[in-house]
């Protein structure tokens, strides 16, 4: 039976490609497998039973399953930045050159020093986290937790950026079929032939499900052959999408499913530009869960030794992968299905040393000695099973030799997805398992083993009928085809969960939870299912208890003297199996994390060597360094002084622009802003303050009236989207009959601030002669539609954020680049200076203008010193609630300026203000500083912020404390208008 070339334990037959010899490495050792192998099957074929160490006790562990439920054989795949920890060897498809490493062991898998935890197991039982290290508290974070984290755990990340790329996609179908076993294939064939749009997805790379793992015939063909034929027919149908290597991970609302397709995980290297995995969002009208079932173990002392596995897995390895886990095997079962393992392995020439059946009426098919009414009570073998101890019906005990033991405690329908919207599975006594409840995701039905129908015939018929029914609900007529004949054995099982006796009997092998831990949880009154899970960690970690939850529950029921349905069950949530975070991110990472918005002058600014800063999605010039400037402050100070001395220019396109038109536009704005807009004359601009309905300031900006029925509003960059949404709400929901239309024109116009005493002179050189922009003709706050540069339409606003004589000029965006170049040319004789965000910020702080730091969602018009702007003679959003007592207190925080007593002290934004003689604590807090900058005009650091009763405290000296940075300085309370408080410059 053994095959010396590619492994010790290779049998004949199987669904592997012996012509494709694949070399791979496990813990540095070179091994060989075949095409069609998983890492687990190839390791078993090479006689490797020890594949990992357990989470807590570092017990030697081997493979338990042959599928996604695997708790033990968890390995790290690939190397360097491509390392993927915590991968199940049972689902990892073998490829040539695969490198895999075991985890959670040191220094080696065979000798793990951390196994000392196993000896200390009395100390590490359920709830040990909560009980052991309670005192002294400060030791927990610094000492206990790092030690435990080091000793207990799974794989380690590479610490490097993930070099793979991921993608997302959207699919639509009439019918989604989850799982391509006998039920799924029958459903897909039925639906596909009806012409419906069908998606059938399976996590395996080979469609067929258990048909590939069994020796069951379907009609005249072997099950696996029938599956291959159906898969080929489905692949040929244009209306069917057969997706292999695709796990449906979640059932979401309204027929939407999430699925991860592993596109290149089975390849040594992904072709350039190919996404490693694709996260699909599948929109289905109906769906059928054909996800099969998962076999559950029976707990007995030392049942976690490498070589002890699910009976169904033992024969899956033999039938599909032609691997005998050992040369001598035994079976421990409480149901008829376990006997199939003995029959199949015996037929393959493997010696079956015993079938231990807990039932007194166990069948005997003549494959091996059957011990009826018996159970396995213990096992031996340091790094792998060598023998089991069996207690016969008469109470006598003996040791039986075997290198592998197949255990079957019955099968649990894979109800996972039916619980994703809080559906609760229901107990079915006949099969001693939970089946999908009546209430699950709308449109989802189930068929085959997932619905508790375990025979092949029932799966085929059930799948076909489910497809006909599902399609019928959406008006598609499908014909129920006659399905080929197959075995239709009834389920014969007597529930049996654990063998009583001494020694630790494992329920959850991944989390090292034993029967004793469940007993302890019960004893300490953690008896509800949810408490049991959290106290013992049963069912947590990467396998989410797929093989352990029900047994844990059953043990709790037994101890509590209740039935299983009385104890209840935990339900499941997405994802079905662990999913790479990268798949959820898709292409939204690094530079493409989100869209980038560039201002119209971006190219020009880049040419000038501007330093850029992210402002939301926008990239804005922060400052423009010049030759010889080594530090940012040099650039910023120069830009500020040059602007105040002569003229500067700044791209302000990012501010939100909203075009408001209609007969009722003025009325509408009058309600959106708390100050009056109804009487704003055409050709004028006004500062507007916008409140939320609760009276807090929402946003501010200038709005220009270009015509009787047309306004252009500006918003802050940050609130452009939110303000527009708010205005649409007001327009549609509050005043639906106002004649007003709004549209965002932020990206339609390139807008530049031209500021400084020489700004008019610069603009006069580009504004067409027909337009008079002298101070008389175009005074402060004037606005108008003009032409520039010989006929280019433009908008001119005489508004100022810097406090200087200033304008904002807008042209259609596509002319923005040309305009900045023309402005620079025209301004050359005045030494026009481009300035960035920092200089803009310095100048607005010098003027005491509020910005995002001040409009921070907690401040009122009163706080900002703008209380009188809130009109009481009209209806506007927020005006009523802004008058609430708490918002109009006499000692309210008022915006003021701060200057350090020692000009060398930097004012720090975020500092809190304290009276000199008060203790520095929250009870004595007087306010806080919101914005700070170095003012090159005052040659001092300055700040603005909010101070209790601030308006009456000018000249007072107080403390500005920043405990986070450990700074404390003395500041003088001053007017926030540091520069030109009378506003003479901007009217010049």
């Amino acid at each position: 039976m053994s095959d010396a070339m590619t492994g010790l334990n290779r049998l004949d037959g199987g669904l592997i490609d012996r012509s494709a010899e694949l070399n791979f490495r496990f813990d540095g050792k070179s091994l060989e497998g075949y095409g069609g192998d998983t890492l687990a099957s190839a390791l078993l074929a090479n006689g490797v039973r020890l594949m990992g160490r357990s989470f807590k006790y570092h017990r030697p562990r081997g493979v338990l399953s042959a599928g996604a439920e695997e708790p033990n054989a968890i390995v790290a795949l690939r190397e360097g930045a491509f390392t993927e920890p915590n991968t199940r060897a049972t689902t990892a498809e073998l490829f040539d050159g695969l490198v895999a490493r075991s985890q959670n062991r040191w220094p080696s898998l065979a000798f793990d020093a951390m196994a000392v935890n196993d000896i200390m197991s009395d100390f590490l039982t359920a709830g040990f986290y909560y009980k052991t290290f309670m005192w002294p508290a400060k030791f927990w974070e610094k000492i206990y937790e790092p030690i435990i984290r080091h000793a207990a755990g799974l794989g380690a990340l590479s610490g490097m950026s993930d070099p793979d790329c991921y993608d997302k996609g959207f699919l639509h179908c009439d019918l989604l079929i989850i799982g391509a076993g006998p039920a799924g294939l029958a459903a897909a064939l039925t639906a596909g032939r009806s012409g419906a749009r069908v998606i059938i997805a399976d996590e395996d790379f080979l469609p067929g499900g258990r048909l590939n793992a069994e020796t069951i015939a379907v009609g005249d063909a072997a099950g696996a052959e029938w599956a291959a034929q159906v898969a080929a027919e489905l692949a040929s149908m244009p209306n069917v999408r057969l997706m292999t290597r695709t796990t449906v991970i979640g059932a979401f609302d309204h027929g939407i499913y999430g699925a991860v397709e592993r596109v290149t995980d089975h390849l040594a290297t992904a072709p350039d530009g190919t996404a490693r995995q694709v996260l699909w969002r599948i929109y289905s009208k109906r769906s059928i869960l054909c996800a099969g079932s998962i076999e559950r173990p029976i707990a007995f002392a030392n049942n976690d030794r490498p070589g002890i596995m699910q009976a169904g897995a033992l024969r899956a390895y033999a039938n599909r992968w032609a691997v005998a886990a050992a040369s001598e095997v035994a079976v421990f079962t409480n149901n008829d299905d376990g006997h199939r393992t003995a029959s199949d392995l015996a037929a393959k020439g493997v010696k079956v040393t015993a079938i231990i059946d807990t039932r007194a009426d166990a069948p005997d098919h003549g494959d091996a000695e059957v011990l009826a009414g018996a159970c396995v009570t213990d096992s031996r073998g340091r790094l792998g099973l060598s023998k089991i101890k069996v207690r016969s019906a008469d109470g006598s005990q003996r040791w039986i030799k075997c290198g592998a033991l197949g255990v079957s405690g019955g099968w649990n329908p894979n109800v996972h997805l039916t619980c994703h919207q809080r559906g609760r599975p229901v107990w079915n006594e006949a099969i001693a398992a939970f089946v999908p409840g009546a209430v699950g995701p709308v449109g989802l039905s189930s068929a085959g083993a997932a619905s508790g129908m375990f025979s092949t015939a029932a799966a085929l018929t059930g799948g076909a009928v489910a497809a006909v029914n599902a399609l019928g609900e959406i008006g598609i007529k499908a014909k129920a085809m006659a399905m080929p004949e197959a075995e239709d054995a009834p389920v014969s099982i007597t529930a049996f969960w654990h063998v009583t006796g001494k020694g630790r009997a494992w329920l959850d092998q991944q989390n090292d939870v034993t029967v004793k831990d469940v007993k302890l949880a019960h004893q300490e009154n953690f008896q509800s299912v949810e408490h049991l899970k959290r106290y013992t960690t049963l069912g947590m970690a990467t396998d989410q208890g797929k093989t352990s939850n029900i047994a844990g529950l059953a043990v709790m029921a037994e101890i509590a003297g209740k039935t299983i349905p009385e104890v209840g069950t935990t339900i499941y949530r997405p994802p079905y199996t662990p999913t790479a975070i990268g798949a959820f991110g898709g292409r939204s990472r690094d530079e493409t994390f989100r869209p980038v918005r560039l201002t119209p002058s971006h190219k020009w600014a880049s040419e000038q060597g501007a330093v850029f800063v992210e402002v939301g999605m926008w990239m804005r010039a922060q400052w423009f360094p010049q030759a010889g400037e080594t530090e940012w402050r040099q650039s910023v100070d120069r830009e500020v002084l040059a602007t105040r001395r002569s003229v500067g220019v700044c791209d302000v396109t990012t501010l939100g622009k909203i075009d408001v038109q209609g007969a009722d536009a003025a009325t509408f704005l009058n309600r959106i802003y708390c100050n009056g807009f109804a009487k704003l004359p055409v050709g004028k601009t006004r500062y507007g303050l916008m409140l939320r309905e609760d009276g807090i300031v929402m946003d501010d900006g200038t709005t220009a009236r270009l015509g009787e029925t047309q306004f252009v509003m500006t918003t802050t960059t940050a609130n452009a989207v939110g303000v527009f949404r708010h205005m649409e709400f007001a327009r549609q929901c509050l005043w639906p009959d106002l004649d007003v239309q709004i549209i965002s024109t932020t990206e339609a116009w390139a807008q530049f601030a031209v500021a400084g005493p020489n700004s008019r002179k610069v603009l006069e050189k580009i504004v067409d002669p027909a337009f008079d922009i002298s101070n008389d003709a175009f005074p402060f706050m004037a606005c108008g539609e003009i032409t520039v540069c010989g006929g280019l339409r433009a908008r001119l606003f005489r508004i100022s954020f810097s406090g200087e004589l200033a304008y904002e000029i807008a042209v259609p965006t596509r002319y923005g680049d040309a305009l900045i170049r023309r402005l620079m040319e025209a301004g050359e004789e005045f030494d026009i200076t481009p300035y960035g965000m920092e200089a803009l910020g310095v100048m607005r702080i010098e003027k005491g203008h509020a910005a995002g730091n001040e409009l921070n969602g907690t401040t009122t018009a009163l706080n900002l010193g703008l209380g009188r702007m809130v009109s009481k003679t009209k209806d506007s959003i927020g005006s009523i609630l802004s008058e609430r007592e708490g918002l109009t207190r006499d000692d309210a925080l008022i915006q003021v300026g701060f200057k350090p007593v020692d000009p060398n002290d930097p004012v720090v934004a975020g500092s809190h203000l304290m009276n000199i003689d008060d203790p520095a604590n929250a009870a004595h807090d007087q306010g806080y500083i919101t914005s700070a900058a170095y003012s090159p005009c005052l040659e001092s650091s300055i700040g603005i912020g909010f101070l209790e009763n601030g308006a009456t405290r000018k000249g007072e000296i107080i403390r500005a404390m920043n405990p986070v940075e450990g700074s404390e300085i003395m500041v003088e309370v001053v007017s926030a208008h540091f520069v030109d408080p009378e506003g003479e410059r901007l009217r010049a």
Binding site: H254, V442, E693, E728, Q732, C733, L734, E883
Partner: protein, 95 residues
């Protein structure tokens, strides 16, 4: 979730922004004698039913319609979708 937009048909909820209770349509009269109390209730007091709920959704990545969606907060079943403008008019709002 899928929201059946009255003008645009079935749309993924990812295209929408959620606001909250559709009672936000019923903004009180600012000249009401009890305006302060009524605005307080309007702004802060909301029902939070486990079951059918009328709520405002904004088709921000679409046609900018505000919608009133009747959704069961337990099952997420959506039984009705209306243009908020129509609902507002039906509730007597105008100019």
């Amino acid at each position: 979730m899928i929201i059946h937009h009255p003008l645009l048909g079935p749309r993924d909820s990812a295209e929408f922004t959620y606001l909250g209770d559709a009672n936000l349509i019923d903004r009180p009269d600012w000249q009401d004698k009890k305006a302060a109390d009524k605005f307080y209730e309007y702004q802060y007091l909301r029902n939070n039913p486990a079951g059918e709920h009328q709520e405002l959704w904004y088709h921000e990545a679409g046609d900018r319609s505000w919608l009133v969606v009747t959704r069961n907060t337990v099952t997420h079943e959506i039984t009705k979708v209306e243009l908020a403008r129509d609902v507002a008019r039906a509730r007597g709002r105008s100019k």
